[in-house]
Amino acid sequence: MIMGPYDHRRLKSLLGAWALAACAPEETAAVEAHLTDCAPCADEALRLRDAVRLLHPHDNLDMDPALRSGVLELCLTRRMPGIPMPRWSVPYDAEAARLDALLDDMGEADWGAPVQLAWYDDDRPSVRETSVAGVIGHLLAVDGLLALALGLPDPLAADTPADETHPRTVASPAGRTEALWREAGSSYAEQQSLAREFRRRHASKMRDEWRTQTYALIRTAGFAGGGVADLLVPYGGGATLPLRDAFLDRAFECWMHAWDIAEAVDYPYVPPTPEHMHLMIDLAARLLPQTLAARRRSGRAAPPRTLVAAGAPGRTLHLEVEGKGGGNWYLPLDSPAALEGLEFCRLAAGHVSPEEAAVGRDGEREAVDDFLYATASLSRL
């Protein structure tokens, strides 16, 4: 059979495109003429056309996030784990999974969205603009402090040797973040200048590194068990947190930054489970007294009104956090304070200002302000 430029081989090669209606009109006509007298091609054409019917758009699965803990709990009651997950690493495990699921749902274009990072520095609101990949890099860099404490590789140390005067191991969260952004080229402007394919590759690399490190952290914590709960993790500038609290801090940061990303790409993002949120609020409440004391020493908060005789009970601040995950905390401060759980978390993350949080509060203005500013100052980049 001679059919001008369309021989059997060429027509056969067109069958896929034909089934998808992706040929030029004259090619379509030539294929269809051929099918009437070539049985093998007619068979294949039919099969491929049927296969096209099986293609359909990716559904957004919209799995209920609460499902995860339910399924995992069910499994663990049916077979007790030989190596359980320490309780203090569970919120981190859950928050990393939630952020990962959000990243999974995001479309290609969402990765190019600018994200605003907000925190309180020197009692003033600070904002930094970065890309989604930049936020992931920030989480990767700061989570790296825990990796170092557990003897895992530092995501930063990969190419550059540590500066002798500022060894990487004690660098601050902000310093580490800036270093990683420089190394990886994550700034929003730099990302925008890249072709889409390179931006996607960069985002994909950041995400893989971050997720791989979260898995390694959770796994190592499980192996080390209770023994490492009190291991001190250096946070730079002499500050430390015991590992159990560092995991809670990172869970909190993961949630807040996932929320930043969700806002930037206009996706809904719900708070953690009340139980996990309670643990995060508890950490902030426990950090408040020392933060306030440091602020008093540096003159940023008023000194206590009355001196208490040695050994006598001092005044306490009754911190009442309302809503899911809330509770009551009694702190050695000077005034009562009541906040809604989410608002308290937003304040501690530097996402709402102390002035906004102060609206409508009763009590001694100065003491309430001290408390609100101290809470906001827990935030950092």
Binding site: R47, L54, H58, D59, M63, I83, M85, E108
Partner: protein
């Protein structure tokens, strides 16, 4: 089609044999962290396949629980020598989903419906297998199908967007559909 950026999350793409082996060992040791990781990597796959068969979220949730608790309780049921953990889980998801579908049909009663139901089970099985095939096929084939089918590009435009020759675009579209067509033949086999 999935937007996933890597082998994480949706469980797309191949995992190295070593990863499959190690995960199996970790599950056998009873590492709770391994169970979490397994869930995060494959829950969307299991849930998506179950939903395609059952078209009911609550029922798909049931399959999700059954599949993960089965693997956790029977870590030795998976043999890394016989393939990817991912396809083992897809197989389990399918088995549990079809079992639920049959049960729902039996409960609904009518004899005529039971006869029709085998036809329906074949159809949803093909659809679920097709989903799995699409997520497992090499990325270049998936990208070509996505452009030609979802974005309505002809094969020359597809070639231009992918930066390949027109010959290569035709080859990818044909090969992609041939892989997809196996969903029908496999659906005919008893699972």
């Amino acid at each position: 089609m999935a937007h996933g950026t890597g082998p994480h999350g949706t469980g797309q793409g191949a995992f190295p044999p070593r990863w499959n082996r190690k995960m199996q060992q970790r599950l056998a040791r009873g590492e709770a962290a391994a169970l979490s990781e397994l869930y995060d990597r494959f829950a969307p796959l299991v849930y998506g396949l179950a939903l395609r068969v059952l078209e009911n979220e609550e029922e798909a949730n049931g399959v999700l629980s059954e599949v993960f608790s089965y693997v956790w309780q029977h870590p030795d049921a998976y043999d890394p020598k016989r393939g990817q953990l991912r396809s083992f889980l897809a197989g389990l998801a399918h088995k549990h989903a079809v079992r639920r579908l049959r049960w729902a049909v039996i409960q609904a009663g009518a004899a005529g419906e039971i006869a029709d139901s085998e036809e329906r089970i074949r159809a949803v099985t093909a659809a679920a297998r097709a989903d799995y095939i699409v997520t497992s096929m090499p990325e270049p084939l998936r990208a070509a199908l996505e452009l030609a089918y979802f974005k309505r590009r002809d094969y020359r435009q597809t070639a231009a967007e992918l930066g390949v020759s027109a010959d290569e675009a035709r080859r990818r579209l044909r090969l992609g559909l041939q892989m997809l067509a196996t969903a029908y033949t496999e659906a005919g086999r008893p699972s």
